[in-house]
């Protein structure tokens, strides 16, 4: 059966090409990191890139942070296998940006400094609120990070055509070491530029492959869809809802639950939130979300061409490379095919190119996540909770760097044994936690005067715990045979794999309960100040001056 497994880049010449391009990506990103490190002086430089990125640059960086390998290879692969249903994830991912644009980005930019917790701590008691916000920041980021790192191991193995677990573990260690270097040395400035480079590479690669696919079908979308439907062996059903989601009523509610988590989660993802601090004012925060919407939307539209193109041009039947890899190699193989086929130079070059883009994608996303958790640890937990007296800026930054090393080491240590587990659900869980724990607290704090410290901690812990507990007792973890994470055990009682539909309302409800049961009204005193600051930018942190 191993002979059937993904014969990608097995030609020695092709593998050399792929490895050289990987090395080039690593060299460019390390150079950027070294360059950025020479400009990092203050805390605002390290945490927020000196707040001096333009709206367009930050928009590119946001796209680079957001479009993970899971969405680059996963969504097109999912379309290649399941047709129309594979496309549904990306719609939730995109519409979610309107929540960020209308309700969160500008107000957060004006009222916070470095982390998500800053904005809550503005009018609440520092210690409990920062502890809660840092906990959920670190939990969400580690879930997301773990999914990316385990994905990186198998992905790079796949792209290089190696199957041994030793090589995958080595890749995880390498990716982990690189992200530690980016974050400890380059800080936010280095990480942002890595994300910008990645976004440009990703967009360029995707535009190229999309163009080559469309040329093959003379720019006739209907023709592309028809061929894909026919080749998939599923006929018109391939273009209709129902192949992947919502087979019965439980499945339909599960799909609704997923949709809610996707659309409400983005504006609560800590690694996205801190990107709004890297621009000089609220107007550039707005511009950066508009850029991100344009870029991310264009990208997801192109994944339609990639996915249906793969279904039309490649073998996606049982036992094929695309099917065995759960769709992950659909885009690279499609690149090879439109480049001229498996034995052509054009095919080899395009395959290596897309593999390198996927690699750059992984690096950029893991760096952003590590920076987010390290910042939150140093700025929220260390400086305001653990340290007996207020540390100096330099002490705090040293802690942030050590935290990045620690978080990197922990995620390497967790990712290696997790290689065999099916952890794809972790990304959906990260969105569910972000929507259930972070979004209620952020929105209440901005728009509800009465909201207080107890309300903030209740909504964060309540949303976090309900999302995680519901997943533990869901079919994702046990009781669903081979599809569960733990096979051979059954302690499942919650029928849905996505907790959002229950945990998001619970997060909002806990916020109200905590507020009224907590009784404390001192947080109302600074509400007017917060609201003036958020709406007008009066007294907001300005860009760093060098």
């Amino acid at each position: 059966m191993n002979a059937l497994l993904v014969p990608l880049a097995t030609e020695p010449g092709n593998r050399t090409l792929t490895i050289s391009l990987f090395t080039a990506v690593v060299a460019v990103t390390l150079y950027i990191t070294w360059w950025a490190s020479r400009q990092n002086k203050t805390a605002a430089d390290y945490y927020a890139g000196g707040r001096s990125f333009s709206g367009a640059q930050n928009g590119l960086a946001i796209s680079g942070d957001y479009m993970s390998a899971a969405s680059f290879l996963g969504i097109s692969g999912s379309i290649a296998l399941y047709g129309y249903d594979g496309f549904l994830y990306s719609i939730g991912f995109l519409v979610a940006w309107l929540v960020a644009l209308l309700l969160v980005a500008e107000l957060l930019r004006n009222s916070g400094r470095f982390t998500m917790a800053d904005q809550l701590a503005f009018r609440m008691k520092q210690r409990p609120v920062r502890t809660a916000a840092a906990t959920s920041t670190i939990v969400v980021s580690i879930f997301y990070l773990l999914a990316q790192m385990v994905g990186a191991g198998s992905l790079v193995g796949l792209l290089l055509g190696v199957k041994s677990d030793g090589v995958k573990a080595a890749v995880i260690v390498l990716v982990g070491a690189l992200m530690i270097v980016y974050v400890t040395i380059g800080g936010m400035k280095g990480t942002t530029w890595v994300q910008i480079v990645k976004a440009v590479l990703l967009m360029a690669g995707t535009v190229l492959i999309t163009f080559l696919v469309l040329v093959k079908f003379h720019f006739n979308l209907s023709d592309l869809l028809g061929t894909a439907a026919e080749k998939s062996g599923k006929g018109e059903a391939f273009l209709q809802p129902g192949l992947l989601y919502g087979k019965d009523l439980t499945g339909q509610i599960d799909f609704l639950s997923l949709g809610l988590a996707l659309v409400l989660g983005t504006a609560g993802l800590p690694h996205i939130l801190i990107r709004f601090y890297t621009v000089p004012d609220s107007r550039s925060a707005r511009r950066s979300v508009q850029w991100a919407i344009g870029l991310i939307g264009a990208f997801y539209l192109m994944t339609l061409a990639l996915g249906f193109g793969a279904a039309a041009l490649l073998d996606t039947g049982k036992g094929s490379a695309v099917e065995v890899s759960k769709g992950n190699v659909a885009s690279p193989l499609l690149a090879e095919s439109v480049g001229g086929g498996a034995d052509s130079t054009g095919g080899a070059i395009l395959l290596a190119l897309i593999a390198a883009v996927a690699f750059a994608t992984i690096l950029a996303v893991v760096a952003g996540l590590t920076l987010t958790s390290a910042s939150s640890f140093a700025h929220d937990l260390y400086a305001n909770v653990i340290a007996k007296q207020k540390p100096t800026e330099q002490q705090e930054l040293r802690v942030a760097r050590f935290a990045a090393i620690g978080i990197g080491a922990v995620s390497i240590a967790l990712a290696i044994p997790a290689q065999k587990l099916n952890i794809a659900f972790l990304v959906a869980l990260a969105f569910a936690v972000a929507a259930s724990a972070n979004l209620p607290a952020l929105l209440y704090n901005l728009f509800w005067k009465r909201f207080n410290t107890a309300g903030a901690t209740w909504s964060i812990y309540g949303g976090l715990i309900s999302a995680v507990v519901l997943v533990i007792f869901s079919p994702v973890v046990s009781g669903n045979g081979d599809k569960s994470m733990i096979t051979g055990a059954d302690f499942q009682w919650f029928p849905l794999s996505n907790p959002g539909i229950v945990s998001i309302p619970l997060g909002f409800l806990f916020g109200v309960l905590g507020t009224y049961l907590g009784k404390d009204r001192t947080s109302e005193a600074r509400y007017n100040e917060l609201s003036v600051r958020a709406m007008t930018g009066a007294g907001a942190e300005g860009p760093a001056k060098h």
């Binding site: 519409v95 209709q240 809802p241 979300v289 919407i293 003036v532 709406m535 007008t536 009066a538």
Partner: protein, 114 residues
């Protein structure tokens, strides 16, 4: 000046801005844009999710003899509406919110100097 004095001075400036008629107008404009549009795009998105679940015959309806069906057009419609609302909000904020916000920000700076 010690920290407490600075803080009291800032707090007075914030209160002065908060009581200004322009600030109430700014909040009113922001709310009147954001609330209806948020309800609209959430309802439009949830309608799409619900149709994928419970209106599959409608979604599978082909358009004009091509392979393009209602589901795909509805999905692309989500892209169009997202681009449209993002552009509309940007235009609205540039024209109707930013001038008021800038004026209030200047007022805050003046008040702090008093």
């Amino acid at each position: 000046m010690d920290e407490k004095v600075v803080h009291e001075r800032d707090a007075r400036a914030y209160e002065a801005v908060h009581d200004a008629a322009d600030f109430k107008e700014l909040k009113r404009r922001y709310r009147n844009f954001v609330v209806p549009w948020t309800i609209a795009f959430m309802a439009w998105y949830l309608a799409y999710v619900a149709c994928n679940n419970w209106a599959r015959d409608f979604m599978s309806h082909k358009i004009g003899g091509s392979h393009i069906n209602v589901a795909l057009v509805f999905g692309l419609g989500q892209f169009v509406s997202t681009f449209f609302i993002a552009a509309l909000y940007g235009r609205f904020a540039n024209r109707k919110l930013d001038p008021l916000a800038h004026g209030l920000n200047a007022k805050y700076k003046r008040e702090r100097r008093r």
